[in-house]
């Protein structure tokens, strides 16, 4: 769940859809042809249910013609022809559809209720219940549906109800397993704990908190059950355990169509077509309903249309002078997100240079575009995002000019990345040694074995002492700090020129964090590497960086040496971030300064200075004309995007 992007957009339309979850709202989200098909199937299903549940009502509910479709032979066929009993085929198919859907509804009801109840019982009502439930699930899982069908047929006699009970009493186990697994995760979520801390009963929590969160999976499984029933009914009817003539279920239609195929092929063809379209429509509908019931709505699938146009327009501009000695030079780069409503800029005006051996820190609040800036530099933007302007040079070479294959090969050896979640960047199924070897194998020829000495050396260098042991360890056997060391080994073994570290110590303990910082510093010196260190913690960046880029709303707002930026912050945002942290010199429990407000999302940026709505020093011009990035301090080369810098900085800079 954390891997998806949180579109913090207020009141997205699909979210309000979920707000009352009424049928009308659900229906609005679905294209009409699908809706028409579903409506048809629902009507047919309702008819089928009546037929199944209350056979005595049949004559009252159905017209003569439909009645005949269920039982009595007719002399002539319909426009699709007749079956072997002389019933019109189209009526028979409709009736069959009804019976199949009715049976599917019954099976789904039985299996869903049973599966949900058993899964909850196992996952949320104590150990004894769980042991019992697990045994029952395993037993159910072990015996085949068909065996149960034979037993039930022995009791009830073959027929549609035999199919229903045989499926209903086996399929639930699949749902129960999934529900139990999900409950085990959900019950550790803070909102469930919070309800428990409020003293609510397990039953209350199960119904109010767990079940709503389990509905997507129940609905998904239910659509699966429906499709399975329709197919299984056909199978069981075929071997004589299901519907008996003259009950015109779809399965029976197929079975009979098969037996009488020599006289007419059409019952078989139309029967199969009906069944296939039914299954397809149900699947599509189930997906839609599940999406619409999710308050987070669907993450729009971004297209790539606009990317190339923007890129071509950019290429027409003359290149500006960039520092071609830099390891990395970024010139006026912007990044666009391609969504349903066109492109939105997420990063803009990004220009910076990284020299050999230098460390550049990028800081800013969450959502200020730090990670996207870094990814633009590696030429590796996530799906749906693209470079919409500017150039990136690696060792003076514009990476836009490199063919994709070449870029990929160069990337691993030129720029490496490590992330906050080291566990996620390692494959749980391979040992640490195997994964570090894999990095080498992607770029160098030779059998994996031959890399072993080099890998062991690298593991030792990142401080995993006893590399022979760590070589054979799996990621889950490592602590957070060790995982980050392993991730570093995996990328540094290629001896890249640049390491991009995207919050690699966030979430680690202070003492572990300090050790990782020291390790990166040491390796940087040894390998003469440049480092880009991303963090939301100015103090931490102050420890490791030579130069700091303060980013706000997708834009650098202050770039300068660590000394200048942290001791004499010039941008009101930089000062705000610095003042937010409690200091040992402050009186305990005194109020902290705080910037107030939040970073606006891409698309909601204020027109001129993007920081203006939160800025204490805003002037009239800040709301009308975007401030340019200008040299602020000749001596240190600090650059600033602000009309009204903090006075403390100006005095010192002069």
């Amino acid at each position: 769940m954390t891997a998806t992007i949180d579109f913090d957009a207020p009141a997205s339309p699909s979210a309000s859809v979920a707000a009352d979850g009424s049928l009308r709202r659900i229906v609005r989200g679905v294209p009409w042809p699908l809706l028409a098909a579903v409506a048809l199937f629902f009507v047919a299903g309702a008819i089928g249910l009546v037929f199944l549940v209350a056979p005595d009502l049949k004559p009252l509910v159905f017209k003569q013609s439909l009645m005949r479709a269920f039982s009595a032979p007719l002399s002539r066929g319909g426009f699709l022809g007749a079956d072997q009993l002389g019933r019109p085929l189209e009526w028979r198919l409709l009736a069959g559809l009804g019976i199949s859907l009715g049976a599917a509804a019954a099976v789904t009801l039985i299996a869903s209720v049973l599966g949900l109840a058993m899964g909850l019982l196992g996952g949320f009502f104590g150990l004894t219940a769980d042991r019992l439930v697990t045994v029952v699930i395993d037993l159910t899982w072990a015996y085949p549906t068909i065996l149960l069908a034979v037993v039930i047929a022995g009791i009830l006699g073959p027929g549609v109800w035999t199919v229903i009970w045989a499926l209903g009493l086996t399929l639930w186990a699949a749902l129960a397993r999934i529900v139990r697994a999900q409950v085990l995760v959900l019950r550790e979520q803070d909102f469930v704990l919070a309800a428990q801390a409020l003293g609510y009963s397990r039953f209350y929590i199960a119904t109010r908190h767990l079940i709503p969160n389990l509905m997507p999976i129940v609905i998904l499984m239910a659509t699966l059950f429906v499709a399975l029933t329709i197919i299984a009914e056909a199978g069981l009817s075929f071997i004589g355990l299901g519907a008996q003539s003259p009950t015109p279920s779809l399965g029976k239609t197929l079975a009979e169509g098969f037996s009488f195929a020599s006289s007419s092929i059409w019952p078989l063809v139309f029967g199969a077509l009906t069944m296939i379209s039914l299954v397809i429509v149900l699947n599509a509908f189930g997906d839609r309903v599940r999406d619409i019931l999710d308050p987070k709505g669907r993450v729009p699938l971004p297209g790539r249309r606009l990317r190339d146009a923007a890129r071509r327009a950019e290429a027409a501009l003359p290149a500006r002078a960039v520092d071609r000695d830099a390891v990395i030079a970024v010139d006026d780069v912007s990044v666009a997100i391609h969504g349903r409503r066109g492109a939105t800029t997420a990063v803009s005006d990004l220009s910076l240079t990284l020299r050999p051996g230098q460390t550049l820190g990028i800081v800013g609040e969450s959502g200020s575009g730090k990670s996207l800036s870094a990814r633009a530099i590696t030429g590796l933007l996530p799906e749906g995002l693209s470079l919409s302007g500017g150039r990136v040079f690696w060792d003076g070479v514009d990476i836009a000019g490199l063919p994709a294959e070449k870029l990929r090969d160069r990337r691993g050896r030129f720029v490496a990345m490590v992330f906050q979640d080291a566990r996620a960047s390692l494959d749980p199924l391979y040992t640490i040694g195997e994964q570090v070897s894999e990095s080498l194998a992607a770029h160098f020829p030779g059998p994996r074995r031959s890399f072993r000495p080099k890998v062991l050396e690298m593991l030792a260098r990142v401080g995993l002492s006893d590399p022979e042991i760590f070589y054979d360890r799996y990621p889950h056997q490592l602590s957070g700090g060790q995982l980050q060391r392993a991730a570093l080994a995996g990328v540094l073994v290629l001896e890249p020129r640049v390491l991009i570290a995207d919050e690699p110590t966030t979430g680690l303990d202070a003492t572990t964090q300090k050790k990782i910082v020291a390790l990166v510093k040491a390796l940087q010196r040894e390998m003469n590497m440049s480092v880009i260190w991303i963090s939301h913690d100015l103090d931490l960046v102050g420890e490791i960086a030579d130069e700091i880029v303060v980013a706000y709303a997708g834009q650098p707002v202050e770039i300068g040496t660590v000394e200048e930026v942290l001791k004499r912050p010039a941008h009101p945002y930089t000062l705000g971030l610095l003042e937010s942290r409690p200091q040992a010199t402050m009186a305990p429990k005194s109020p902290l300064r705080s910037v107030g407000g939040t970073v606006p999302d891409p698309g909601d940026w204020p027109p001129a200075c993007r920081f203006a709505p939160r800025c204490r020093r805003a002037l009239a011009i800040c709301g009308t004309t975007p401030p340019p990035m200008e040299l602020f301090d000749e001596g240190s080369g600090r650059r600033l995007r602000c009309y009204n810098p903090e006075p403390g900085a100006a005095e010192a800079g002069a």
Binding site: D8, P10, A11, A15, A18, A19, D190, F191, L193, A194, A195, Q196, A197, L198, G199, Y200, R208, H209, P212, N213, P295, K296, E365, S366, D509, A510, T511, T512, Q513, K514, V517, H536, D537, L538, D539, L540, G542, E543, V562, E563, L566, K567, G576, L577, E579, S580, R581, P582, A584, T585, M586, P588, K589, P591, L592, R593, S594, V595, G596, T598
Partner: protein
């Protein structure tokens, strides 16, 4: 009861998690003793796995202990049932770390707050009006009552979590890493909010964090935990100035930024 009276006293508390699936048993709490007085903040600092969260969970009775005593105003916290349990629920509430998981994604803020307000001893007569006041007290507009958690920012969600804890009118709030997942700027506004509420309502906090600077700023008294044990306890400034335990010294040395801050 006035400021300074002992509300909560914990003596020789121990808890071991049984090893599962081949993992060794883990001693999460090892002979922990502490006291919480009315209207004060007891800060607890320590790295992950040091037993801080287990302690928090014991205090709000989400989990039990193996041995030791925990006592709130004469009520045995480890064995409370029925009316006693309800009393404790109303007196001690908790705010969790992760703003993403502390709210049920399928229920509105209004539903979440109502659920808490109903537990209070004297639920307000005008409950809808009081929900609006609760929102304002944590700096949110009443329009947000009908929002879903995903429509709020992390900081806003954490404000709601605080409002939910306060809706029961507790005397003690256990805050388990409640600002650790937030940006520094949001962090400071949440800390300010907590300080304000404390001054106004006379709350006592058990403030748990791995962030030494934050714990130091928030606490009247401070405890340093490691591997389930208390290694140091006392006045926060005193501990910072003159740490006794080697681990505390290491922790203080690990706080980044000491070099650049003007002293």
């Amino acid at each position: 009861m006035s400021r300074g009276d002992v509300l909560l006293s914990v003596e020789h508390l121990s808890k071991t998690y049984r090893g599962q699936g081949g993992r060794p048993a883990h001693k999460a709490l090892d002979d922990v003793s502490l006291e919480l007085r009315a209207s004060e903040t007891l800060g607890i600092v320590g790295e992950s796995g040091s037993g801080k969260s287990t302690l928090a969970r014991v205090l709000v009775r989400l989990t039990g202990a193996d041995s030791g005593r925990a006592d709130y105003c004469g009520v045995d916290l480890l064995r409370a049932r029925g009316a006693d349990a309800l009393f404790l629920t109303r007196q001690i509430q908790i705010v969790f770390q992760d703003p993403n998981s502390s709210m049920n994604p399928r229920r509105t803020i209004r539903q979440a707050l109502l659920e808490a307000a109903r537990v209070a001893e004297h639920p307000p007569a005008d409950i809808q009006g009081s929900l609006a006041r609760m929102m304002e007290a944590v700096g949110l507009s009443r329009e947000k009552l009908d929002a879903y958690p995903h429509q709020l920012s992390g900081g806003q969600r954490q404000r709601v979590a605080i409002a939910r804890a306060l809706a029961v009118s507790p005397r003690v709030v256990v805050a388990d890493e409640c600002v650790s997942a937030l940006d520094v700027s949001v962090q400071s506004s949440i800390l300010n909010l907590m300080l304000e509420r404390q001054r106004e309502l006379g709350l006592a906090y058990v403030f748990i964090s791995h962030d030494l600077s934050v714990v130091h700023h928030m606490s009247d008294r401070m405890i340093v935990m490691r591997s389930g044990r208390i290694v140091e306890a006392g006045n926060p400034s005193e501990i910072m100035r003159n740490p006794q335990d080697p681990y505390t010294r290491e922790l203080i040395a690990s706080v980044p930024g000491s070099g650049f801050r003007a002293a």
